[in-house]
């Protein structure tokens, strides 16, 4: 599998909180940290505003991986958005896992505004793991 996927460039979608992970992404850029260019970042006001509908929309449209980046526990600017996000992800991943629908393609990660390094490393890991998984079966499926 891994061999077949050597040339596979995954399409990755990131829902990044404005107050932390989005800033970390900028920081990684301005400090010239290297990470794969596969991620398409979407800025959200808080990880708590990422309804599963957006994640599912991306997954079903053929994104190979979706990552939600939020503030560290205790640091959410809206107090509890990230805790609620974690619950939603727990529900979403439970459902995807139960139905055999590519639960491993959805990641939740806490990356603060100061953690440019962590952002770059996470994007590297994420890209690598999704490459290992191969292209999403949703990519070519027109009848979803």
């Amino acid at each position: 599998m891994a061999d077949d996927n050597k040339d596979f460039e995954p399409i990755l979608v990131g829902f990044f909180c404005n107050w932390c992970t989005s800033t970390a992404a900028d920081l990684a850029g301005t400090t010239r940290l290297q990470y794969p260019p596969n991620i398409r970042p979407i800025r959200t006001m808080c990880s708590g505003s990422v309804d599963p509908i957006y994640i599912l929309r991306a997954l079903l449209s053929g994104a190979d991986g979706i990552i939600i980046g939020g503030c560290n526990p205790g640091d959410c600017h809206y107090v509890s958005g990230n805790y609620k996000a974690r619950r939603r992800i727990a529900g979403l991943k439970t459902i995807l896992d139960t139905l055999g629908l590519e639960n491993d393609r959805v990641w939740l990660k806490w990356i603060s505004a100061a953690e440019g390094q962590k952002f770059a490393v996470t994007m590297r890991d994420f890209t690598e793991k999704i490459k290992e998984l191969g292209p999403s079966p949703f990519r070519k499926n027109w009848s979803v």
Partner: protein, 374 residues
């Protein structure tokens, strides 16, 4: 203190006994009105009916095995604009009562002046099966109760066969049938202050021993637990994986009837019917199509089901009405029962168990679900 009383069943007429009890509720002004299942003149259906006049209870039929609409939805629409100022007694099956508890938590129903009368349920038929069955028998409810007692009812809906809570969990009053010699007597139980007030108004109380019912319920419970796990394992096998999932949904026409029938789905405007999802210029559809080379239309049927599971799965009471509402007999209940059960396990949440259990998606703890983080 829970209070119990037995009602004597005369001439084996169980429906008549319940009718007598309901008449007394109005007569003694324990309640001002009743929301109860009444047989329609054609006898083909039994529908929830708001009754204020005792005479209109003549065709009341709370034991008839049919549930056209989940009563939680009815209470929600009746109390949405303003709560009731008069006392209304409502007969509910367990899945209706559990849905009601969820709706109250979701702020979709107001329980002020609502007195819940739960009823033990041996299971229900689909509306179409009941319409046929009711024409074949003079007393459909009586006929059904005989079959229920012998455990040989093939008309029961799949949801009822594996129902984990066929007895009311939180009712003010319960009409108990399980484990009792129902040809001779049935149980009335009060579980709350409101129930106690009714007991007093009716001068009920007396000798009653619900132990037999408790025994029957725990036996039924372990049997049902096993049946449900077998059922879910089979659904997982049949529907698991993208190809199987799409095969199960192949006949979906995106009518969203399943959502309309669901007592838990309450949004006035579902996001999936909103302009964000359905109002686009042709250009956009062509663009979507070009991504995969083709696009099934109407679009987003899998998305619709998955989103619904995410939004309401934790509160799914497994009533099965979604599947009954589907014009193309898609196994919607199977999918939702499976997904809902697993989500409820993740959150250790039992929908409808208690008004005090917090909804899983509004509550949180600082230290939890780390396994879902990366």
């Amino acid at each position: 203190m829970p209070r119990n009383a037995m009602l004597e069943v005369k001439g084996g007429d169980i429906t008549g006994t319940v009718r007598g009890f309901l008449e007394k509720l109005l007569e003694k002004k324990a309640v001002d009105a009743l929301l109860v299942p009444v047989e329609v003149p054609s006898k083909k259906n039994v529908v929830q009916t708001m009754v204020t006049d005792i005479a209109q209870l003549a065709d009341v039929s709370p034991l008839a095995p049919v549930m056209p609409v989940n009563t939680a939805k009815i209470i929600s629409s009746v109390t949405k604009v303003a709560a009731s100022t008069k006392k209304v007694g409502v007969i509910l099956r367990s899945c209706e009562l559990r849905a009601l508890v969820e709706m109250v938590k979701l702020k979709q129903a107001d329980m002020n002046n609502i007195v819940t009368i739960g009823i033990d349920c041996f299971g229900t038929y689909s509306v179409t099966d009941y319409a046929v069955f009711s024409q074949e028998h003079d007393t459909p409810a009586g006929e059904y109760l005989k079959k229920a007692a012998s455990g040989t009812d093939t008309l029961l809906r799949p949801a009822c066969k594996i129902c984990q809570y066929p007895y009311p969990l939180t009712a003010d009053m319960t009409i108990g049938l399980f484990g009792l010699p129902i040809e001779k007597e049935i149980l009335v139980h009060s579980g709350t202050k409101e129930g106690d007030q009714v007991f007093e108004a009716l001068g009920l109380d007396g000798e009653a021993d619900p132990a037999k019912r408790d025994e029957a319920l725990s036996a039924l419970k372990s049997e049902r637990q096993k049946l449900k796990e077998e059922f879910l394992a089979q659904v997982q096998q049949e529907a698991g994986g993208l190809d199987n999932m799409l095969s199960v949904l192949s006949a979906c026409v995106a009518c969203h009837n399943c959502r309309i029938a669901c007592p838990i789905c309450y949004c006035r405007e579902c996001l999936l019917d909103s302009p964000t999802f359905v109002e686009w210029e042709a250009e956009k559809y062509l663009d979507w199509a070009s991504r995969k080379g083709a696009l099934r239309l109407p679009a987003d049927s899998l998305l619709f089901h998955l989103v619904r599971m995410n939004h309401m799965g934790a509160s799914c009471v497994a009533c099965g009405l979604c599947e009954d509402a589907c014009p193309n007999s898609i196994a919607v209940y199977k999918l939702f029962c499976l997904a809902g059960s697993r989500v409820q396990e993740t959150f250790e949440y039992t929908p409808g168990r208690s008004a005090d259990d917090e909804l899983p998606l509004t509550a949180f703890k600082e230290e939890e679900f780390k396994g879902f983080e990366k």
